[in-house]
């Protein structure tokens, strides 16, 4: 392979990106050396097994990916803002809508949710950490390795360009001969393994590490949603693993799964992809439901309405999510019976979802609603998500889908589901739990400004797409002529996209501003919360709970506050903690190189990297580190210091 094939050349935008990547990396390296932070970085972050720090790293990575995916999105909107626009060429446009989709779903939405899960779940259930802290670090570093592998594709070798669903035969070696789709199969594979491990870890954590007395039906709703999500993860992700494996075989070893000859079957890829892909939608949406439940009930000052039916509806959704995948290809030509069946199962999901919407509305009923920033996002979610939901029902009707399929109507629908359903949720959760992690709130006034920008711009960006779809504009078109009449609405959408960009910049600016100027929170409970995480000082000490509280009912902390009793007045004992370990990080690096070499089919280095992976795993197996104990005096000391005048 020649060097000019190795690096992507010929596009000024990409040269700009390359220069900025090099500059930023240099700045980071120089900065770390200058401020002598290498040791700190290694000890406190790269080797950490603390769920809170891992959560923070997930969220940080997700924010960076949000901007990467966001830049893709703005470029797409810019290219289609006017007829016959010459900003990007077809190939470049194809690459960015592919990476936009993959990054936003797999490297933004999921890690953001995993970040919040990591930080909050052990705190909500009264646990010292997750069940397997080191596995948790492995999960993170595998996700990170996958994300980095995927992201270097646009400067080294070229990005995938066959859509985030990578339909064969287009994504096959014949029609996509360059390495882009190898990046797709390997980056997703590596981060997918990490995701699977996260799912396992959280099921065990939630099933086995709850505080005494906290039965399943006394768990906070976010914990419930994460439990159910994790169940979906462990049964859905293996399907992706297999699909990606077959994809890699087809592209790199000449197998005939999805090829056009020798019996290969292109739609089988689509089938496998969506067997995973539809549950995946619920993997990113269900935790969001959990987050909204927490926030709405906190700021309505009421317990969650219909707790039981909320849980049941999530269980029903998790089961149904495995029964609907064929609605992604109604137009394949299968029988009306197949389409009818999948239409009905798909529409059936609207029922439990509707139950949840009404339960949220009735949580507000007779409440005393405070419009804080996290609450604003949660309240904005209800009407906007309902539009996404009802258009989802419309799309679920197989016959009508013949007219919506692959059009901007579909694009509008899933943005109306995923942005309020996931993005608003993670932003709301981010604002809501930020003080728990960092000890101060994000500024409310600036947060609300960003909120209004985001909410209004979101609708301006995506509502026109419903009409564009009905006008016959298909998705993934990099250009269109003036006669089509698609111009004005696309322009409007571009205006919205600019507004969204400003909104997100304001959001990040608010983080910076609040870090510098926002007063510190000394109570540990700035929102007058209901669940256990608010019973601890902020930031939470490394061992979480000095004494694990006893639980007798839902919202135990809320009632304890009202009765004026403390949840932590038992005797403090020494606390067992897991030791930090550099091996997960090393494993991540080994996987990164393994993936990278396989992408380019450089087999000798790939085998070396593969052996490195196995050796790191063996080293972990032989590791007999049992962790360490924090002595009682140290716990007492730090509790006194953290709780300040409260104790």
């Amino acid at each position: 392979m020649k060097w000019d094939e190795f690096f992507v050349t010929g596009d000024p935008l990409i040269y700009g990106a390359m220069v900025s990547i090099v500059l930023v990396s240099l700045a980071i390296l120089v900065g770390l050396t200058y401020f002598k932070k290498w040791g700190y970085l290694w000890r406190e972050w790269l080797t950490t097994v603390d769920h809170k720090k891992i959560g923070v790293m997930y969220i940080l990575a997700a924010l960076i990916m949000l901007f990467r995916g966001g830049v893709d999105a703005v470029m797409m909107r810019a290219q289609t803002s006017m007829p016959d626009m010459k900003f990007l060429d077809g190939q470049h446009y194809n690459e960015i809508f592919t990476t936009h989709g993959v990054i936003m779903i797999l490297f933004m939405a999921m890690p953001f949710i995993f970040g919040l899960m990591n930080v909050i779940i052990p705190l909500q259930i009264g646990a010292r950490d997750v069940a397997f802290p080191r596995l948790n670090a492995i999960s993170f570093w595998l996700f990170f390795a996958g994300a980095m592998l995927f992201n270097i594709s646009f400067v080294i070798g070229g990005s995938p360009d066959a859509g985030w669903s990578a339909y064969f035969p287009l994504a096959g070696i014949e029609f996509s001969p360059h390495v882009g789709n190898n990046y797709y199969s390997l980056a997703l594979q590596i981060s997918g393994i990490g995701t699977l491990m996260t799912g396992l870890n959280f099921i065990v954590t939630i099933m086995k590490m709850r505080a005494p007395g906290m039965t399943l039906m006394k768990m906070p709703m976010f914990t419930w949603s994460v439990l159910i999500t994790s169940v979906i993860i462990i049964f859905a992700f293996p399907v992706l693993t297999v699909a990606l494996l077959l994809m890699m075989f087809d592209r790199q070893f000449g197998t005939q799964f999805f090829t056009m000859q020798n019996g290969g079957m292109d739609m089988l890829w689509a089938n496998l992809f969506w067997v995973w892909g539809h549950p995946e939608v619920y993997i990113v949406v269900l935790p969001a439901f959990g987050i909204f439940s927490e926030i709405i009930s906190t700021f309505a000052k009421k317990n969650l309405y219909g707790y039981k039916s909320m849980v049941i509806s999530m269980l029903v959704i998790s089961g149904l999510s495995f029964l609907v995948w064929a609605h992604h290809f109604y137009t394949m030509g299968q029988g009306a019976m197949v389409n009818g069946f999948f239409s009905i199962t798909t529409m059936a999901i609207a029922v439990p979802t509707g139950v949840k919407i009404f339960n949220w509305l009735f949580t507000l009923h007779k409440g005393r609603i405070e419009f804080t920033t996290p609450m604003l996002y949660s309240l904005a979610f209800i009407p906007i998500f309902t539009i996404g939901g009802v258009t989802g029902v419309m799309l679920a009707m197989a016959s009508a889908d013949y007219q919506y399929h692959n059009t901007m109507f579909l694009v509008a629908h899933f943005h109306y589901v995923l942005i309020p359903g996931t993005v608003f949720a993670v932003i709301a959760g981010f604002h809501y739990w930020f003080p728990k992690v960092f000890g101060f709130r994000l500024n409310e006034r600036r947060g609300k400004t960003a909120f209004w920008f985001i909410i209004i711009s979101f609708n301006v960006t995506f509502f026109p797409l419903f009409f564009l779809g009905l006008q016959g504009m298909t998705r993934r078109m990099y250009t269109y002529s003036e006669e089509t009449g698609f111009g004005p609405l696309n322009m409007l959408s571009m205006v919205g996209a600019i507004g969204l960009t400003i909104g997100f910049i304001l959001l990040v600016y608010n983080i910076y501003w609040s870090t510098r100027y926002e007063p510190r929170d000394t109570t540990g409970d700035p929102w007058d919360g209901r669940s256990l995480e608010w019973s601890m000082p902020s930031p939470v000490p490394v061992y979480n709970f000095a004494v694990v509280p006893e639980i007798t009912k839902r919202d135990e902390f809320w009632f304890a506050k009202q009765e004026g009793k403390s949840l932590s007045d038992k005797k403090i004992e020494k606390i067992h903690m897991p030791s930090n370990s550099g091996k997960p990080f090393i494993l991540g690096i080994a996987f990164f190189f393994l993936g990278f070499f396989v992408v380019f089919s450089w087999w000798t280095p790939a085998i070396v990297a593969g052996i490195a992976v196995l050796l790191t795993m063996a080293a972990m197996s032989f590791d007999r580190d049992d962790g360490y104990y924090i002595p009682v005096e140290e716990v007492v000391q730090s509790e006194k210091r953290l709780r300040g005048e409260r104790v």
């Binding site: 069940a131 397997f132 699977l196 799912g199 396992l200 870890n201 099921i203 065990v204 099933m207 086995k208 590490m209 462990i234 049964f235 859905a236 992700f237 293996p238 399907v239 693993t241 297999v242 699909a243 494996l245 077959l246 075989f249 070893f253 000449g254 197998t255 005939q256 799964f257 090829t259 000859q261 020798n262 019996g263 290969g264 079957m265 089988l268 496998l272 067997v275 067992h576 196995l614 063996a618 197996s621 032989f622 007999r624 049992d626 962790g627």
Partner: protein, 198 residues
């Protein structure tokens, strides 16, 4: 690290119980993984293009041998865990070694079989059918291979540290894994080979 003496060693600590529980969940994921491979196989089984079909390819002899070897190894790993619970380190190690040797024998026959298939004109690139067949078998074989490496690592640890709550826990989890591979093989035996020969 609280050790609960009323339980077998491998269940002795909370961490151990979590690990066993977690591994069961992992096997749930593995069921989904193999189910997907079976799906692919069932969909593509008749798409053998100009290559051989299952009926042309399969020979019952080696397959039966593989089946009996794997069933026996599943039996011996069970006995290993049984000895472990009795605290018989040496016997446990012997059973484990037998298991690994049987595993290696299974793998040997499978590799021989693959050569035979390629010889018959059924390489992995021949047709959708051969791709799906060899990927399904290969994934199972890769699991067995990984099991051999893993089992050896555990055996070394048992020899070095004796049977404590850590090594016992690992050995027990390994036994679950090995039984699981046997279960998968039973389905391959029934729905790939026997169905193909029907």
């Amino acid at each position: 690290m609280k050790i609960d003496a009323t339980q077998p060693l491998e269940y002795g600590t909370e961490e151990n119980r979590n690990k066993i529980f977690g591994f069961w969940l992992f096997m749930g994921a593995e069921i989904a993984l193999f189910a997907t491979l079976f799906t692919v196989y069932f969909v593509l089984v008749d798409r053998f293009a100009s290559g051989p079909s299952g009926a042309d390819l399969f020979v019952i002899g080696p397959v039966l041998a593989e089946t009996f070897i794997l069933l026996t190894s599943s039996f011996t790993i069970g006995l290993a865990v049984h000895s472990m619970r009795l605290g018989l380190k040496k016997q446990m190690m012997i059973f484990m070694v037998i298991t690994l040797v049987l595993g290696a024998a299974f793998l040997g026959i499978e590799i021989y079989e693959f050569f035979h298939y390629v010889h018959e004109g059924a390489a992995i690139t021949t047709s959708a059918f051969t791709s799906s067949l060899l990927t399904l078998l290969g994934t199972h074989g890769a699991h067995v291979t990984f099991g051999l490496l893993w089992g050896t690592a555990i055996l070394l640890q048992v020899r070095k540290y004796g049977l404590d709550h850590k090594t016992a826990n690992k050995s027990f989890i390994f036994s679950l894994y090995w039984h699981f591979l046997d279960v998968v093989w039973i389905f391959i035996f029934s729905f790939v080979y026997l169905k193909g020969l029907m």
